[in-house]
């Protein structure tokens, strides 16, 4: 239940327009950069809503008594609460409501798959109209506050003297750290890379999530008192037992994705066949596209990206921005089964990405210098549904074609990072390498260890990872307050 739904301003606001008038308003579309221009620039594709557009969109929200959107949100944001503040023009207050439950609202507003979560549960859908643009409004409020230069800090309980360590500074770790610091814990985040942010920095490209946005959210956590240690690989630089000796009573492991998956087909180790992790890390984290930096990156002219998820879309759109003449998604199922967000697929198409669905690479062909020059593709058709419920791709016998490519990015998933789990003696790890946890994200083998995000799920979204971090923080609090 949203806390101040009965506040007088809110009741007045509800009465100021009839629900019919609200539902009659068309959903405000996101302002986007021109696809032809943006495909060659690093500028953010979505430009955000203007204040006027945001207020109009906020009016579409019916301020339901039992808001179903909130049930769709993994971090339980008070959705009508912040939207109604936008409607009445109290944008900073809207941001404050968001920050009560989300440590990264400007990030969530950009990269959450809202269509499957909050917006997917919006009452408008039951009335056959488009859902309220909750994600765009969230982004608006967070951006407004950041750009105002007057970011409020959420309230923190006074220090309780307990020390908790967070391993990994990606979305699950940041969300866990944010909640713990608000509860009065002393929190230190240990990051293996040289920058804070995990996948938000190395994975998601600038044109979808600018680093400045991530840095601002991290700065908020810093101001709340969260300590960050970079260049520290827990399990290598310091061990978990050393952290215990230093007084960390509980640890949250959010060490994220690890080794990229490959298909084990001939030619996969040719030059210029690389994982999406490598390609995106070079371009995003290392800024390899900038001639001022030392890190090299190959600029493919004919680029093939294998996979159908968000990472594949990020990779293929990055390739365009790195100068590719032709950038093609190769996916073994049909477009309907693609796990990527609809918006990303639309954006990619508008920018000129080609989609070759129902094709699967079976071999990479190299030139005399060991560089990839073509890919052999097996054509597929859809058969019976598999365990994931999606129709299984089946080979069409003899239907093989060859496509020229001077660069191939393989974006078919990752397995959990083995370093932290394998360094903790007695920790229960699944066959797939994930840490086994209960519903409270607590290890079933070592009660002081909690975990979330990709190290538990194998591969998930930013918001599910954040939800894990949040649940773990609550569970750590319960455990340490026994």
């Amino acid at each position: 239940m949203t806390e101040d739904r009965n506040a007088s301003w809110r009741e007045e606001l509800r009465k100021s327009m009839k629900p019919k008038e609200r539902t009659a308003i068309e959903r405000v579309p996101m302002n986007e950069l021109d696809p032809v221009l943006r495909a060659r620039s690093r500028d953010e594709v979505n430009q955000g809503l203007t204040a006027e557009q945001a207020v109009t969109e906020a009016k579409r929200c019916l301020d339901c008594g039992k808001p179903s959107c909130m049930e769709g949100c993994p971090v339980n944001i008070d959705i009508p609460g912040f939207i109604k503040n936008i409607e009445r023009g109290e944008f900073a207050e809207a941001a404050r409501v968001l920050k009560k439950t989300s440590s990264l609202p400007a990030v969530c507003g950009r990269v959450c798959p809202q269509e499957k979560q909050c917006e997917g549960s919006c009452i408008h859908l039951k009335m056959n109209s488009k859902p309220v643009a909750i994600g765009n409004l969230e982004r608006f409020a967070a951006d407004f506050e950041r750009n105002s230069g007057k970011a409020s800090l959420p309230e923190c309980r006074s220090s309780n003297g307990h020390k908790v360590g967070v391993i990994g500074s990606g979305p699950s770790g940041l969300s866990c750290a944010g909640d713990l610091i608000k509860m009065g814990y002393e929190v230190t985040v240990f990051e293996a890379l040289h920058e804070i942010g995990g996948v938000l920095k190395y994975g998601i490209p600038e044109f979808r999530l600018p680093n400045a946005v991530v840095d601002a959210e991290i700065e908020t956590l810093r101001r709340l008192g969260v300590k960050f240690v970079t260049d520290c690989v827990v399990g290598k630089t310091v061990s978990v037992s050393q952290l215990r000796e230093q007084g960390y009573e509980c640890l949250f492991v959010g060490s994220g994705a690890g080794l990229p998956r490959f298909m084990n087909i001939p030619g996969e180790n040719l030059i210029n066949v690389l994982s999406s992790n490598e390609y995106l890390t070079r371009v995003n984290l290392m800024d390899a596209g900038n001639p001022e930096t030392d890190t090299p990156v190959f600029r493919g002219r004919k680029v093939i990206v294998v996979g159908g998820g968000n990472t594949a879309m990020d990779s293929v759109r990055t390739a365009l921005r790195m100068g590719a003449e032709k950038a093609t998604i190769v996916y073994r199922r049909s477009e309907e089964e693609m796990p990527a967000r609809l918006e990303e697929v639309h954006h990619a198409k508008a920018e000129g990405v080609e989609f070759l669905t129902l094709h699967n690479p079976i071999e990479y062909i190299g030139d005399d210098k060991g560089r990839v020059k073509a890919v052999r593709l097996q054509k597929m058709q859809l058969g019976e549904p598999d365990e994931s419920g999606r129709r299984r791709p089946v080979e069409i016998p003899g239907a093989v074609e060859v496509l020229e490519a001077d660069m191939v990015v393989v974006a078919i998933g990752v397995s959990p990072n083995p370093i932290v789990p394998s360094s903790i003696e007695g920790l229960n790890i699944s066959r797939k390498g994930t840490i086994v946890v209960n519903d409270d994200m607590q290890s079933d083998s070592i009660p002081t260890i909690f975990a979330g995000g990709d190290i538990v799920r194998g591969g998930a979204t930013v918001i599910l990872a954040m939800g894990d971090g949040r649940r773990a923080a609550a569970a750590i609090d319960a455990y340490l307050s026994r």
Binding site: A192, L193, H194, Y202, T230, D231, C232, V233, K236, T237, V238, S239, A257, G258, L259, P260, F262, N264, E268, N269, I271, N272, L274, S275, N277, E278, T281, R282, M286, E292, T293, D294, T295, P296, V297, F298, K369, G370, V414, N417, P418, I419
Partner: protein, 272 residues
């Protein structure tokens, strides 16, 4: 942290740096490496740890200028600070009492061999070091090797020091002379390939420490993948040491050249 407390120039392109890194100095083991990023613009490069001083809290790196970042690192002076040093990474060397161990090394591969020689000796092995270089001036760490090794065989391409010949000639002489139970090789890929071919001929189990291209070095990017016994392995987390007889060195050498053209363009730029 990460301050260069001592610098020694071994040759035109090779320097030895002692870097303040107390946590790494404490936890590192022979075979481990670090990833270094010298500043905002620097690349992340893997460097094997040559030695560590836990009292002073320093690690020793021996660096050869091959790319833009390593050239800039070699140009750094005592008192300057390296922005980022992370480690120790990779699995440590499997130190055991094998019997007689030959340590075959060349180039900057000699530096990371030093702690392995020490550990192998302490584990009770008879340790014979065969160390090679193009010419006398490029032979490094000979005295330090002698401190631990039962014997140090020096090989130079031009015969200006030690015996004229390649590292493989030196190793073969030892194998023909006495029973060798184990071999460790670190150096340029081509050298490790031929050491590996040789020891396979004589059935001497051999491990090679691979120095591939890496970005994160923590098991995320896959740039370092190599083919070992027909399987793809990741040098940063599965290695850096592998059964040399199973490594596809030819593929590894091809992959090491992935950015050679781009790097050549970079190297023509003035150093920042």
């Amino acid at each position: 942290m990460n301050r260069i407390v001592k610098k020694e120039r071994f040759s035109e392109k090779v320097v030895r740096l002692d870097v303040e890194a107390p946590l790494i100095a404490q936890s590192r083991k022979p075979g481990n490496f670090v990833i270094v990023k010298i500043d905002d613009k620097g690349e992340r490069i893997p460097l094997t740890i040559a030695s560590a001083d836990t009292e002073r809290g320093t690690i020793t790196l021996v660096v050869q200028a091959v790319g833009h970042t390593s050239a800039r690192l070699c140009a750094m002076e005592e008192g300057e600070t390296i922005a980022h040093v992370v480690g120790p990474l990779g699995r440590p060397t499997d130190i055991r009492n094998y019997g007689t161990v030959v340590c075959a090394c060349g180039g900057v591969g000699t530096a990371p061999m030093l702690p392995i020689v020490e550990a192998m000796k302490k584990a009770g092995n008879r340790v014979i070091v065969v160390q090679a270089a193009r010419t006398k001036e490029l032979i490094i760490l000979e005295q330090q090797m002698k401190q631990w090794a039962d014997e140090v065989v020096i090989m130079t391409d031009d015969g200006s020091y030690g015996t004229k010949g390649l590292v493989t000639n030196g190793v073969e002489n030892v194998i023909q002379r006495e029973k060798v139970d184990f071999c460790v090789t670190i150096g340029p890929a081509i050298m490790m390939k031929f050491v590996s071919l040789l020891t396979r001929k004589y059935d001497v189990p051999t491990i090679a420490s691979l120095n591939t291209i890496m970005v994160d070095g923590t098991g995320m990017c896959g740039a370092c993948r190599v083919n070992v016994g027909g399987e793809t392995k990741f040098v940063c987390v599965d290695g850096p040491e592998f059964d040399a007889h199973q490594v596809d060195f030819d593929q590894m050498m091809t992959r090491l050249g992935a950015y050679r053209d781009l790097e050549a363009v970079e190297m023509r730029k003035p150093l920042r």
